[in-house]
Amino acid sequence: MQRRVAPLLPPAYEGAVVGRPGNDPASDRSRSARQHVSKQVVQLDRVIIRFAGDSGDGMQLTGDRFTSSTAMFGNDLSTLPDFPAEIRAPAGTLPGVSAFQLHFADHDIMTPGDAPNVLVAMNPAALKVNLTDLPRGADVIVNTDEFTPRALTKAGFASNPIEDGTLESYAVHAIPLTSMTVEALKVFDMGKKDAERAKNMFALGLLSWLYHRPTDGTISYLRTKFAKSPTILAANLAAFEAGWSFGETTEDFAVQYEVKPAHLPQGKYRNISGNLALSYGLVAAGQLTGLPVFLGSYPITPASDILHELSKHKKFGVTTFQAEDEIAGVGAALGAAYGGALGVTTTSGPGLALKSETIGLAVALELPLVVIDVQRGGPSTGLPTKTEQSDLLQAMFGRNGEAPVPIVAPRSPSDCFHAALEAARIATTYRTPVLLLSDGYLANGSEPWRLPEVAELPDLTVAFATEANQTMPDGSQQFWPYLRDPQTLARPWAVPGTPGLEHRIGGLEKADGTGEISYDPTNHDHMVRLRQAKITGITVPDLEVEDPDAAARVLVLGWGSTYGPIGAACRRVRADGGSIAQAHLRHLNPFPANTEAVLRSYERVLIPEMNLGQLALLVRGRYLIDAVGYNQVRGLPFKAEELAGVIKDVISNV
């Protein structure tokens, strides 16, 4: 049944070099103690692996573990988890397939990769769903145990694709993963069902062998995770080991691959996902501002992980409040901000819609507030676990009245850390709610992160108002809550408990300066313009342009998580001899001061977005620049190759 893989280089790999095992420093980082069966070792510069299985097959865990080992090994990497919204979608069905894609390389890379070189398919449905993405020659590891007539029918195969020639163009490794796992675990006192559950560890062991991954991390991870269940621990370790040994001994794999560590800038690294980086950014913001962090939040995919993470860091003075709903989450955060905390609320698109009235109140109260929207596919419930950039206009305009709110968008998973600091800086400096737009791809995707030195992080110290700020004609002193700093136009932050500064604020229009209720038409017009001027006047860094040969006529402008795919696409265009400039907006409101000048210095501006042209609308409206949009809303990040094609088309048409 098993087909032998040709020990030739599959065409899907780029830049492969054939070598022998054991003669480079990388190999002794795998398993020094193990006796190698002499196999050919092929050097690769990068690999894209996709693990795919049923929602219950543990593919996300498998991917995570492989990623950790890869990070520890020193490769650059980028990941794309892609899973259904259901916790356990019906077994064996196409919508129930959960996948994890990992791209790792010996050089710096920008995306989780377009097409996998290796697909691990734990069942027919996983094969069916992912086959269309596979380039010819890719390795396909299938778990033959699951290819039963019933499962095949469920996945929509008329006959067995392993046998009927469907997989002719691929290097197929047909392996009975489940039964081999059960066999390996028969020494343990456990049921067949439980033993079968460890098959993902068998697969992980096999792939770890195939790509020379260090194993210590996974072993110690399992030891911690199953510390309380020795049998399950032993079984998982044994399955992992068995997978490794199978790779070593089977003739099915004639070659082993190596991807050397990447030459990244010097420093200390860790692997990090966007949601984790964002959480750390918020903890850091509390430390750097000197304010206690108060998170008011309601669980929502894909933002809940931030609530989970922050709830672990109370020792940093972080209070987390799981509210009764989205509105209470932001309300409590705003109440805490009124009391002098760094108020934060986290949500996704539907939750942002619910919070809009309270964000409007924060605009009127002019209090600092950090609002995090981890965007997902919309409208309505939409695609909870998929990524999209379609809340930009909601962030920009989704409130009643003229209610401007600054917007910050991170560009990569690790950048979420710095974006959180930037959001806190703007919120506290300008006394305003700030929207941070992450998305599902950044939230769950991960990459190596060169750790910043804490001492080099910005000082965000905040000063509260302590005394009266207005001398009346009779010489008496008063506190005017809406008297502004002439530079920033921020009003004083006077927290309860400060004697002499008692004041009342609210959502009703306020008289300039005194903050008393005012229905005066001229005052209202003035206040609307003042609030806008405050946001427009926020100092943000200039827009940087990457235009290596300074010969580009086309600029690709992006924002948020498209940075990686756009960057990778630009590299491809340049590698093929084209000239292309790239600029990426971190600040969407206000735009950097030089934005118009940058955009006008190119003949054509191309804006790829995972929406129907929201940034393009803002750019056109603001600068009257006829930007070209490229828009996809498939719930997945752009592919570099696809974008490169679009860029080339635009270039050839200017």
């Binding site: 940093f316 109440g335 009235e357 500064l501 004041h503």
Partner: protein, 360 residues
């Protein structure tokens, strides 16, 4: 705050105001007034409540700057503008949520919520029940006028069935909430009812509520003389008031009516009933126990009143039990985590996590 707090629910702990700084200076009602012109309709019941609160607060001797009034939207929600303390006039229904964030993060403040029947029972119903369930350290004054005043006279969630209003010209169809029943259903730890015009009872109720550990809900029957005038007249007019009002006093048999002729007894099916004391016998009268852990009897008391006629309406403290406030517990968790860390929360160690590698 001690670690023991979070492990000893039920033990008498910190009263609500123990962390709020006090002043030695003598205070008067005048200091709690602002220079703002009060803009309620002349004759509105809100005036009496404002005056009662302003006169009562000096009793506490709290520093004015450590008192905050938070309100939502509606006639009553203008209240903070007239209190010379810190104040937030927020958005419709959300005051309990905003006040929760403030209270939890600032245990040194005395935080009050001023709200109405529409604000807290319609648009903000969810926030109210959850504040009560959590037992957040808030003093909630619910002005119940059984009508929407600020929007000019639509029926409210406490209006009696059949109410003819601008939005219900043929009469309202939906059954009203009884705010006390609702609060008791949410297991609120302090629930009371009082009346705008009864200054003495109103002040006594504030006094009982203010030091309570956690949420105090005070429903205040408030007359809207413009859109629902006389809604509580049976409880106010000398001809009827003794007949319809049941004054609850902890530890006392529940007895009311002219000469105390009527009282509350437990019927055979376990429910409460209003009876003629002479017939039923004094020893059958239910003795009011506001401190009973189980809210069932308090709930049964709240069900005695007739929403149409207000007959058998209890006022006073229905329930007053001791339970740790959400605030105390939340603050204690943070304190415990800090203590366990020995005061060393290392940001660099946090962001590095366990798995790092060095690139040279």
């Amino acid at each position: 705050m001690s670690e023991a707090l979070s492990h000893s629910p039920g033990l008498p702990g910190l009263p609500a105001l123990s962390l709020v700084p006090k002043t030695d200076a003598k205070q008067s009602a005048k200091e709690f007034k602002t220079d703002q012109e009060v803009r309620w309709c002349p004759g509105c019941g809100d005036y009496a409540i404002l005056a009662a609160v302003q006169s009562f607060l000096p009793e506490l001797g709290l520093r004015r700057e450590n008192i905050v009034f938070v309100s939502g939207i509606g006639c009553s929600s203008r209240f903070p503008y007239y209190m010379n303390t810190y104040g937030v006039h927020s958005i419709h229904g959300r005051a309990p949520a905003i006040a929760t964030g403030l209270s939890v993060s600032r245990p040194d403040l005395s935080v009050w919520v001023v709200t109405g029947d529409g604000d807290s029972l319609s648009i903000g119903g969810n926030h109210l029940i959850h504040a009560l369930r959590r037992n957040v350290n808030l003093k909630i004054l619910l002005f119940n006028n059984r009508i929407y005043g600020l929007t000019k006279g639509q029926y409210s969630p406490t209006s009696e069935v059949g109410k003819i209003t601008k939005s219900t010209p043929m009469g309202s169809l939906d059954n009203p909430f009884n705010p006390v029943s609702l609060a008791l259903g949410a297991e609120a730890t302090f629930v009371a009812r009082t009346i705008d015009s009864d200054r003495k009872h109103l002040t006594e109720t504030l006094r009982a509520a203010v030091n309570h550990r956690g949420t105090s809900l005070i429903e205040i029957y408030q007359n809207c003389n413009i859109f629902n005038d006389g809604a509580f007249d049976p409880l106010k007019e000398s001809a009827t008031r003794d007949d319809v009002t049941i004054r609850l006093v902890h530890g006392q048999p529940i007895r009311f009516g002219v000469d105390g002729s009527r009282g509350v007894v437990r019927a055979d099916d376990g429910s409460l009933q209003v009876v003629d004391v002479a017939q039923a016998g004094e020893d059958r009268l239910v003795v009011h126990d506001a401190h009973a852990e189980d809210p069932s009897v308090a709930f049964a008391l709240s069900r005695l009143s007739d929403p149409m006629t207000l007959a058998n309406t209890p006022i006073g403290v229905f329930r007053d039990v001791d339970r740790p406030s959400y605030d105390e517990l939340a603050v204690a968790q943070v304190a415990r985590a800090k203590e366990a860390a020995g005061g060393t929360a290392d940001l660099a160690a946090l962001i590095a996590g366990g798995d790092t590698w060095q690139v040279d």
